[in-house]
């Protein structure tokens, strides 16, 4: 059968769009795009780890141990100066690794949310203390159920100190973790983390990582496929854009689930075919002396010094 007549018509020559402007993105597209972008940025972005910097050259397993020790030690710090040491350390290492700007960008959401959590603690509504800054004064105290609002609402010295401590502690910990993930290629990071775990966990982590990557790519393809077919003229009820969007979202969830199911069955068969016997060992997991470079030794000595000084300081 030849192609039908309606398919032979080419009617328009010129682009008849008067104003070319970006079409408004719908909530569903936007949300999905951001979710995919977040997963990609946090789990698969290798750009920062490919910069030739100090921390990028460190053996991932050594990095994990050192950062872990720093975070444990940081959680025992009670003074602002003690916490500031670790924050400065994270920022210094980030500078030496050429990822300071990326680190600060990544820290922004953590800073905002930590501030939102910590700020109320600075007021005398939560922690009573010596007033530092008067914010508002009522004629008399007000009581709502069991909550009493004092006549003077102020930022207290003790409250501000505890809020600042919480804020710095969270930011220092998050900076150290980001420093680790930013300077290590994601696959090497996962491999290094799993090297500290028993076989079953190792296989679950590496397979999950691989398939999260695969399924994220699938979702990206789905979004593109939807956008490519979305003519957005919305002239009939059955073809209304929002209804199409809902149908699309529902079918994609179902399809993703069915793809995951099929993949897991195929994966099991493939593993069996490759002789998988429920043990999961990967070559080169055990840390050998030959894996350790000059920069590793430098970082180890530097870290031992810092850890030693901080321990000695807290014992004094």
């Amino acid at each position: 059968m030849g192609i039908p007549d309606w398919l032979k018509t080419i009617t328009r020559d010129e682009l008849q769009v008067v104003n070319i402007k970006k079409p408004r993105e719908r909530f569903l597209d936007k949300t999905l795009r951001h979710v995919v972008s977040f997963v990609e940025d946090t789990m698969f972005n290798e750009r920062a780890s490919l910069i030739k910097g100090f921390m990028q050259g460190i053996e991932p397993r050594i990095k994990i141990i050192i950062i872990f020790l720093f975070i444990v030690l940081l959680s025992f710090q009670k003074t602002l100066s003690g916490i500031a040491v670790f924050l400065s350390l994270a920022l210094l290492l980030a500078t030496l690794s050429g990822v300071l700007v990326i680190l600060l960008k990544r820290l922004m959401p953590a800073m905002v949310f930590t501030m939102l959590i910590a700020l109320p603690a600075a007021l005398n509504l939560i922690v009573d203390g010596e007033p530092l800054l008067m914010l508002h004064e009522f004629e008399k105290p007000h009581t709502f159920y069991q909550i009493t609002i004092p006549s003077q609402i102020s930022v207290t010295k003790q409250g501000a100190l505890s809020a600042l401590t919480l804020f710095l502690r969270v930011i220092a910990s998050v900076s150290l973790v980001f420093l680790l993930t930013l300077t290590t290629p994601p696959n090497r990071f996962i491999k290094a983390v799993s090297s500290f775990m028993p076989g079953a966990f190792k296989s679950i982590i590496s397979i999950s990582y691989r398939y999260i990557f695969f399924l994220t790519r699938k979702v990206e393809d789905f979004i593109m496929g939807f956008r490519a077919r979305n003519i957005s003229l919305g002239v009939s009820t059955r073809g209304h854009p929002s209804l199409i969007g809902q149908r699309w979202a529902v079918s994609r969830i179902g399809l993703l689930f069915s793809i995951s199911m099929r993949l897991s069955a195929e994966l099991e068969r493939a593993m069996e075919a490759r002789g998988y016997d429920y043990s999961f060992e990967v070559q080169g997991e055990r840390l050998k002396a030959s894996d350790i470079s000059g920069s590793d030794v430098l970082l180890i000595i530097f870290s031992i010094t810092i850890i030693g000084v901080m321990l000695w300081k807290s014992l004094m």
């Binding site: 682009l15 290798e46 496929g225 003519i231 957005s232």
Partner: protein, 263 residues
């Protein structure tokens, strides 16, 4: 008139993977252009850029003579249709019939007109027996045919085809090539990304070759491009092999005609 005028476009994915590096080419109205290149050379990315699904990080794309500046107007979605390499990406309704109706419904066509259009498409693609099946339940080749049907259902002026013959059995491949040629002769503009060198001479007026460095290697008529074995080797599209005849060893490319006497 030029349908696409691509000027030095570059694109890098978020993970830092470069996919296009200062690529320039143009596509005239009614022309059939094939983009060939090895796996990962960025052919699909070029189609996504032409379809406004990605925005170039540098360079310009003019469509129908207008610089769209990365803002792809929805009106163009009817005029330019993209067939994805993975048909899963573009099929999302409950039956093949619904899939083929979606485009015409969005265009606001009359119910009787939609029904006629979809019936004709089912016949054209030899998928009448699939009309009530769910797209997830189809084989790869069947799914590809349905996905192609969804592209055709809106009667686009331009078809962007990503590996159209990938995953098809030999008979369906020939049918697809014939169909592409019919559409070509009907005046449709067709841009095909493929690494199936066997179909290039059959379906294209012009061919551009993308190298593994994501830059344009060459462009020309498909016969000349296919004859340039050094360039095809450089693009990693063919490979050389050496074999021994009775008294000497010689090398030749592993594609196209190669006449020699075996002793």
């Amino acid at each position: 008139m030029e349908v696409f005028n691509v000027k030095k476009i570059s694109y890098t994915y978020k993970n830092g993977k470069k996919a296009a590096d200062e690529v320039s080419f143009s596509v005239k109205k009614g022309e059939s252009l094939t983009i060939i290149g090895a796996n990962g050379s960025g052919k699909s990315t070029l189609l996504y850029l032409l379809n406004g699904l990605l925005r170039p990080e540098s360079g310009d794309i003019e469509i129908f003579g207008r610089n769209i500046n990365g803002n792809f107007p929805p009106e163009l979605r009817q005029r330019i249709s993209l067939l994805f390499q993975d048909p899963h990406a573009q099929l999302f309704l409950l039956s093949v019939w619904d899939e083929l109706c979606l485009g015409p419904l969005q265009l606001g066509l009359e119910k009787s007109e939609i029904q006629k259009r979809v019936e004709e498409l089912l016949s054209l693609l030899n998928i009448k027996h699939l009309r009530d099946r769910g797209p997830w339940d189809l084989s790869g080749g069947e799914m590809k045919k349905v996905a192609f049907g969804t592209c055709l259902s809106v009667n686009p002026d331009v078809l962007l085809l990503d590996e159209p013959t990938g995953g098809l059995d030999p008979r369906s491949q020939v049918e697809f090539v014939d169909l592409i040629n019919e559409l070509r002769h009907a005046g449709k503009t067709i841009v095909t990304a493929t690494h199936d060198l066997g179909i290039i001479e059959d379906i294209s007026d012009r061919t551009v070759v993308i190298g593994e460095d994501h830059r344009l290697l060459t462009e020309g008529n498909p016969w000349d491009v296919m004859e340039d074995t050094d360039m095809l080797l450089q693009a990693n599209l063919i490979h050389k092999h050496a074999h021994k005849h009775c008294w000497y060893v010689h090398e030749h490319s592993h594609f196209g005609r190669h006449k020699h006497e075996h002793m």
